[in-house]
Structures are given as structure tokens and as C-alpha cells.
Amino acid sequence: MNLEKEKLLEMYRKMLEIRHFEEKAFELYGQNLVPGTLHLYAGQEAVAVGVCANLRKDDYITSTHRGHGHCIAKGAQLDRIMAEILGKKTGYCKGKGGSMHIADFSVGMLGATAVVGAGIPIASGAGLSIKLRGTDQVVACFFGEGASNQGTFHEGINMAAIWTLPVVFVCENNLYAMGTRQTNVMLIENVAERAVAYGIPGVTVDGNDVLAVYEAAHEAVKRARESRGPTLIECKTYRHKGHSRFDPATYRPKEEVEEWLKKDSVQRFKAKLLEMKILTETEVDKIEQDVIAAVEKAAKFAIDSPCPAPEEALEDVCA
């Protein structure tokens, strides 16, 4: 698939933004600036970016507890995401949601739900809304392989399938549901095989290859936009860190971790862009410095932002 230089650079920049953003969030956590926990997206950047690069601003996504990357890829602002993670009033949810519940409806990011699998029927509902309103929007629904064992996966995808809804179901298979290996909880190797049960296409791609993800999503988004129904895309990937902040991930064999780090999506894409002569080493440095500066600025904004007033806890329960 031939992509314009501009598009490729934009994708690379987004991936870098996610990587540096997550590293910064991790660092701020270490400084006790992040209340609660963090589920970092580092390692899975190619999935969010490869999918969202196919979406328009008015398209929708739904996300999960590991959702910072989805927000960034869909176009949410780094500063307001970071502010939310720090529990600040300037955050996207005014400090009511935190790391696991970021939403930015202005860019079609319909929010992250932290009940595993719960976003799947919600994404189908957004798809039904599109169909009933008669627009040509599309929904991308992100979830992990662990969510594919939930009843909501079955119910939500089946409904999207029977009603030919414009939804792209994106399973980020990072091999572990918290500490539980995929092989312990399902007998099939590829989650995409489950698509057969709903009569929709299912494809498995290298989730650490942003161009492979882009290509699969391109086909699925096209299909959805043309009212031909949903697709299940499984992206094989790996999280760099543990499940959450306190998880040293000792359940993952060292060799396995090393093997996956060698397949790191950001490094691979950089090498590819250099090889394609889309990027020069100088440009690589320049982009990286720009991204680091943007992330630093976002962090400063978040740190300097005020906390919400305690009594704001009582607001927004009802409209």
C-alpha cells in the first residue's frame, strides 16, 4: 500500500507521541503525581495509530482501561489527557474519570470503559446510531484478547453483524489478560477465528507493524463506510510494561519479553522510514525533539493545573 510521505510522517509522529507520553506518565507516577494506577499503552502504538490513521474526525472510537494511546491516535490533546491522569480540573473529564476513563467527544473519542468488554456493545450502538441517522461515519472498537472471552463480545459483535453496522472491532492481542496467558483461557490461537461465528471477516495481523495494521484497517473501514458491515481485526502485539503500575510482570518469560522488544513497533517503523528514505537521521532527531517538547509541555500543563474543588464531586451525575 502506497501512502503519502505526509501521512507516514504523521503516523510516525503519533506513535512517538504515545511512546513518550507513556514514558512521561510513568515518570510522573514515580514522583507521586499520578493518583491511582496506570495501564500503559507503550508497545502497542502501531495498533491505535494504524487504525485511527484511517478514520475521520467525525468517526468514533471506543476504548479501554489501557486507553491513552487510543485517545492520542484519535486526536485528543496531550495536555488535557495528562491533566486527567493527574486528576486535574483541566482534564478531559474534569478529574472525574482518570487514566481509565478518558473521553473526548469533540474528536469522536466516545470514552474508555474499564469493565473489560463493556465497550463492545456500546460501539455497536454507535454503529446503529450511524445507520439510523444515515451518515457514513465509522466506529472503531478497541479491546484486548481477554475481552473476547466476555459475553459482551459475543452479543455486541453478533448484533453488529446481523444489522450490518459500520463497526471495526479491533482486538489488541497482547497475549496476557493481566497475568493470565491467552493459551490458558482459549484453545484457539487467533481470536480472529471467532469472526466465523458471526459470519463476518476476521483477520490477524502483526500488531507491531503499523503498515500492516493500517492496511487491514483500511479495508475494514472501507467496508464499514460502504455499509457492508463489521470486521474483526486481531493485532498481535505486546505491552512493554506490566499490566498496571504495580505489576513487574514476572509471569512473562524473559526470552519472550526480549523477543518482543526486538519487534518494537516504533523502532521498526523508524527503520522502515529511513530505509524508504522518507526520513533522514536528522529528521528523526528533529521529530523526536519536537515530540519530547510537546509531551513536556503537556506534563507541565497538567502539573500546573488546579485540582477540582472537592464539591465538584456532586456535579455531572445527571444532566
Binding site: 470514552g111 463493556a118 456500546i122 450502538g125 445507520k131 455486541g156 451525575v317
Partner: protein, 325 residues
């Protein structure tokens, strides 16, 4: 005024709102043209509005509510039907964690205008999976509004308000009420949430009742009046928001209260109302607060067993007489 059934009143509300607002649509199991709703509330709607807007779903309660939520946050006004209230347990994550919390946890960025209709109530011998009254489950979830009409008039007016509301509304019906007839005006009207209705004025004792129990309370009041006991019957009509003031004001006048609900007594709706009365008007009470509710059992099948657990006129009269002396 013309008389129509509770079922027809609900259908009129659905139909009028679907005509008024093209974002309103109905989804649920067997709500479409083939079955027209387990209790025939949606009869004729698919023929009039088409299968897209009166949508039969697979047997997937969780996705029925989840899909409604997703549609609601992207510009639609879905009305989801759960065939029996007991089955709401299957959709509980979507109701209690998603629908109820999306607005709050996203900092007010979205509204979630979903109506979730379901029938509660025992009395038709369909046993433990089709008969329970679970209002209290939902009353415990911030973010949900709860309407529960006892008459055709209230059914139509409250359902129209529910559909126009920007928040999720749990709309509880009672299966014994569907054939009940009552006056419903031809002209347009709505009933605001949080406004109780005094179904019968009285001076001696306040009886707060909901859904089908309103009718049992009214029948009991009629019998008690022959003995010189003047009962005031109040139907809150919505549990969230709850019109505390009307209940407290009535208690201030009568000094006595009996709360009659069809749910289990322990941690039930009656417990909450009793607590409010105790907190806000204890000094006005001349007698202990009484509650008439179902004992803490699942609903049994056999008619004598089932009738034994459902509150009735006799149990209401007994409770009233215990505190009116």
C-alpha cells in the same frame, strides 16, 4: 374523559414521541411486528414506523442496553425493552456501570438519554424468574432516574417525560396493570419527575405505595373508611428523583405512615422511604413506621404460595390498624 388501558397509554406515549422526534426508536426482544412485545405494548408500531425503528433483537440483554447506550451518546433516543424485570440482571453491568456512569465519569461531556422499560411484579404464576420486583437495585445507582406509574394517566405522562429526559430512565411497569383502564385525555400532556400524586386524601394515616400496590392500598383505604379510619394514599410515581417533601408533609399532617411496596422488605424501597421519614419527620410521628412488603423469598410458583408472599389489602389493613388506635 375517554378510558384506555395502561398498555394502550404506554403505546400512545411511544407512538407520539416517535412521531414527534425521529431520533426515538425502540429495541428489544420480540418488540417487532411478529410478536409485538411480550405484553403487546409495541403492537402496531413496527407497521407504522418500520422495522428499523422498532427493532427486534437477539436474546442479548447486555447488548440491548449497551447498544442503546452507544446510540444515546451519539445522538439517538433509544427505548430499550427488557422483557421481564428479572432479566435486567443480565444487563446489569451495562445499566449500572455504563449507562448510569458514562456522563459522570466523562465529566459531563455526554448525555445518556436511554429509556429502559421493564415489567415487574408477581401474581400471574410465572415463578421466580419472571415475577420479582427489583426497584431497589436501581434506586441504589446514582445517575439513573426511576419512574413507576400505577395508572394509565401516569403511564402515558411519565413515559413521555422519560423519553424527553436527557438522562437514563428506568421505566418500571407492572404486568397486572397492563389491562387496567383509566381516564387519559386525548390532548398532549407530560408529568414531571419528582412529583408524587396523592391518589386519595386522608387525615389519619399516610400510606405510600407504588405500582400495583397503589390499587391494593386504595382498596384497603376504602374498607378502612367504613371503620372510620381516613387513609391518605400517596404514589411517589418516581423513585429517583423522589418527592420526599410530599411524603414528609403528609406525615406531618397524619403522624402515621405505612409504606407498601412489592419488593422484598430487606433493603427495599420501603426501607429507604422509612429512613427518610425517620430522618426528616420523626418528631411528627405518633406511632412507629410500618412497612408492608414481600418477605425475603424468591417468588414461588404455586398460587397459594405466591399469594401468601404478595402484600394485599388484608396485610395493609392489619398494618394500618397496628398504628391507628
Amino acid at each position: 374523559m375517554r378510558q384506555i388501558t395502561y398498555r394502550d397509554a404506554l403505546r400512545e406515549a411511544l407512538r407520539e414521541e416517535m412521531l414527534r422526534d425521529k431520533t426515538v426508536f425502540v429495541l428489544g426482544e420480540d418488540v417487532g411486528r411478529y410478536w409485538q412485545g411480550a405484553f403487546k405494548v409495541t403492537k402496531g408500531l413496527a407497521e407504522e414506523f418500520g422495522d428499523e425503528r422498532v427493532r427486534d433483537t437477539p436474546i442479548s440483554e447486555s447488548a440491548i442496553v449497551g447498544v442503546a447506550a452507544g446510540a444515546a451518546i451519539t445522538g439517538m433516543k433509544p427505548i430499550a425493552e427488557i422483557m421481564f424485570g428479572d432479566l435486567s440482571a443480565l444487563a446489569m453491568d451495562q445499566i449500572a456501570n455504563q449507562v448510569a456512569k458514562l456522563r459522570y465519569m466523562f465529566g459531563g461531556q455526554t448525555r445518556v438519554p436511554v429509556v429502559i422499560r421493564m415489567p415487574f411484579g408477581a401474581g400471574v404464576n410465572i415463578a421466580a424468574h419472571h415475577s420479582q420486583s427489583l426497584e431497589a437495585w436501581f434506586m441504589h445507582v446514582p445517575g439513573l432516574k426511576i419512574a413507576l406509574p400505577s395508572t394509565p394517566y401516569d403511564a402515558k405522562g411519565l413515559l413521555k417525560t422519560a423519553i424527553r429526559d436527557g438522562d437514563p430512565v428506568m421505566f418500571f411497569e407492572h404486568k397486572l396493570l397492563y389491562p387496567l383502564e383509566g381516564p387519559v385525555p386525548e390532548e398532549e400532556y407530560t408529568i414531571p419527575f419528582g412529583v408524587a400524586d396523592v391518589k386519595r386524601e386522608g387525615e389519619d394515616v399516610t400510606v405510600v405505595a407504588t405500582l400495583y400496590m397503589v390499587h391494593k392500598a386504595l382498596a384497603a383505604a376504602k374498607m378502612l373508611s367504613k371503620e372510620g379510619i381516613d387513609v391518605e394514599v400517596i404514589d411517589p410515581r418516581t423513585l429517583a428523583p423522589l418527592d420526599k417533601q410530599s411524603i414528609v408533609n403528609s406525615v406531618k399532617n397524619t403522624g402515621r405512615i405505612v409504606i407498601v411496596t412489592e419488593d422484598c422488605k430487606t433493603a427495599g424501597v420501603s426501607a429507604e422511604i422509612a429512613a427518610i421519614v425517620a430522618e426528616e419527620s420523626l418528631d411528627y410521628l405518633d406511632a412507629p413506621i410500618k412497612r408492608v412488603a414481600e418477605p425475603d423469598t424468591p417468588i414461588p410458583f404455586s398460587p397459594p404460595l405466591e399469594q401468601f408472599v404478595i402484600p394485599n389489602e388484608k396485610s395493609i389493613i392489619k398494618a394500618v390498624k397496628e398504628i391507628v388506635y
